[in-house]
Symmetry: none
């Protein structure tokens, strides 16, 4: 069972936008056991789209398209598909109702332009788009399936995981692939690879390991392929058992969730609250924490103390200490963590202060120097880090290391015997 | 003059790596006036690479390939090119010398594996790789040019900008393409399309418009192609002149920068500072603002008042008002904006309070209800929004609308006659 992706959009061919959709689709197809053989990116022109689609349908049973489904004149995917599959347009009452509801809640008037989104080809299945206005079109003809999805990442992702992948799984009798994702924090990739070397070399046939590093974290994925889901499950469980011993607390989740979600669960389980005092991370930690639904149960708030007057005036950091030790120092980080804890009345306070760059570095404190502190019922600790990325990289990685410090502290306070 | 890109690598087809190389190459080609018509991603298999390359050479005069040039077994681009173009391998003394120097500096011994990198096809031009071990191969035959580059981004980028683009410019008498990006805030795509309909329909031949929507914003791109850069520049300037009248202050930049960068420039130009009080956006506005280098000159800090006690205790919001009007109300938003301004001593305060979802909605205040307030020297104003996305969408779009409200206020205070 082979599949191809066709992404449509001039913005991809002039380098204005990086195609992140394809990697997401590729991963989901792999999980479903579908072999992706080609990704083709073409412009918004009718003849190039038609040519690319015709070629892909000759080679592959499944073609997933993204882009060109919007309400503007440069969106012509629908028209190309109708030329290819024949038939006319009908106004879908369901899509129109979805559209009206979506627009009215957003305070956007219905006009001829966006109303055209409710016109759908009569000979395809229409899949509803819960987070946007363009419906998803599913054509099934002569052993070939063509699916047209919006190019907006969130809309594509929602439709793909919620509707399209389940339908693909139903449609094709696939071999069995079971995966487990393991999320690890606080390791460099090369160090982790060395630590896991013997275990990886001894993995049974059909089981493979992939490293997917991101800011301050590594996502490990164990894939097992074979005939029987039951057998594979046992094989994976056995390997996971070994990993638990090798990696211990470095694993923050045995499933694919973010660090902030793991921390949220830990805070709920421990019935504790926390707050953050951010300097170099500028609000990113608060943003990550509050991206998790229900975070208001354990996250009280944050002070982004970008200016030193905010560090002293709001958080109560001693301005004499700021002057003598510098804003980027253990003392200031610790006073910030204690200050936010006092200010909000939270059980834990987490702070960051550092030099994200590109300016502001000195020989003693180069760009990338970051102090993180955690204050809690059992005291206040701080730690220095040295990162060497761009401004955005340093900010992102600082947030991850800070969150991991908080996680380890919550874990230690919960089970003192383990640290 | 048409070009295509072929990227090679299994990691791209299983979603492990996002293809960022293609966007970089695309941008450089566009700047050189080369029309990129297609990007094809295929696996490391000999027959798929050969097929993709043969097809591309039928359609296009220039094919740029990345990947599959390394020293390991799955790197077979060189072998595919030799099958296609004929001829044998020779050891290049220059490449061997480069290789030895490169390896010795990296402390890696020369072995049979990496020495094979010095073996190059005899009937191509070899372009030196100053930052890696795989040389770049340039084939020129029957009006077709095929260039094979390494897939490692730094090596590809160095070779492309330093050697390949200059050669392409020499080789082809190219048509000219000029683009201008216009960034618009506060418009829904369909409403903007309606507003620009007449203007777009009257665009001269050779000039086209593309819409690239993202959270709460639309990026417009005007492309003009023709013979003379000078003529095209005048044509674009004329159309931009019309757009200025149609869109007015909805345009936050006539170039491709983010809203937070436009606000930063405005704050610097006006010599004012601001701070933020965030509830539903949870720190995202602070993160966006501080992602801009130099933001410490105008951004003093933020309070993320997730808990109502932080709203009253830190920001001084009247808890009687919170109880009577609710935390998501005009009054609370305004008191938050005033409170953060007072607390940090900034010229402006920007606040958000709303229900991001998925929980917390009521019939009177459904999920997506957001109040934004701006407080400044000329007073405090607030505005209600209703969004209908997921939690993350509502947070992202709230941050964009809030930043835009601040921008319009800074603009109005700067030039009172314009509002």
């Amino acid at each position: 069972m082979q599949a191809e992706i066709i992404t449509i959009g001039n913005e991809l061919l002039i380098g204005q936008v990086v195609d992140t959709n394809s990697a997401f689709i590729a991963e989901k197809l792999r999980e479903a056991g579908v072999e992706l053989t080609r990704i083709t990116t073409v412009s918004d022109k009718r003849d190039t789209i038609t040519l690319a689609l015709t070629e892909a349908m000759k080679r592959s049973e499944l073609v997933l398209m993204t882009g060109g489904l919007g309400p503007t004149n440069d969106d012509i995917t629908k028209s190309v598909l109708m030329d290819l599959f024949g038939g006319g347009l009908v106004e879908s009452q369901q899509v129109l109702a979805d559209l009206k509801r979506f627009l009215s809640r957003a305070g956007i008037p219905l006009n001829a332009n966006n109303r055209s989104q409710a016109l759908v080809p009569e000979n395809c299945q229409v899949i509803r788009n819960p987070v946007g206005t363009a419906p998803i079109l599913w054509f099934d003809r002569n052993q070939r399936v063509v699916v047209a999805m919006p190019g907006v990442p969130l809309e594509m992702k929602t439709a793909l995981t919620g509707e399209i992948i389940p339908r693909i799984r139903e449609l094709y009798p696939l071999h069995v692939l079971i995966s487990q994702t393991i999320r690890v924090a606080g390791y460099a990739e090369s160090v982790l690879a060395e630590r896991l070397g013997d275990w990886e070399a001894a993995l049974p046939k059909g089981v493979s390991l992939a490293y997917l590093p991101s800011y301050g974290q590594i996502r490990l994925r164990l894939d097992a392929t074979g005939e029987s889901a039951e057998v594979l499950k046992k094989v994976l469980d056995h390997e996971i058992g070994k990993l638990k011993i090798i990696l211990g607390k470095a694993v923050f989740a045995w499933e694919d969730i973010e660090l902030q979600e793991a921390i949220g669960r830990l805070a709920v389980a421990s019935a504790v609250t926390f707050s953050t005092a951010e300097s170099c991370t500028g609000g990113l930690i608060g943003h990550l924490v509050t991206s998790i639904p229900g975070s208001s149960a354990y996250f009280l708030g944050s002070v982004v103390a970008y200016d030193n007057r905010v560090k002293s005036g709001v958080l109560g950091v001693d301005s004499v200490v700021i002057d003598s030790r510098g804003a980027v120092s253990a003392e200031v980080a610790e006073q910030m963590a204690e200050g936010i804890r006092r200010l909000t009345g939270s059980d834990y306070g987490l702070s960051t202060t550092g030099i994200a760059g590109p300016g502001g570095g000195t020989p003693e404190k180069p760009v990338g120097t970051v102090w993180v502190a955690v204050s809690g019922p059992s005291g206040t600790v701080s730690k220095q880090f040295g990162f060497s990325g761009s401004r955005m990289q340093n900010i992102q990685i600082s947030a991850q290391f800070a969150l991991n410090m908080l996680r380890l502290r919550l874990l230690a306070d919960r089970s003192p015997g383990l640290e």
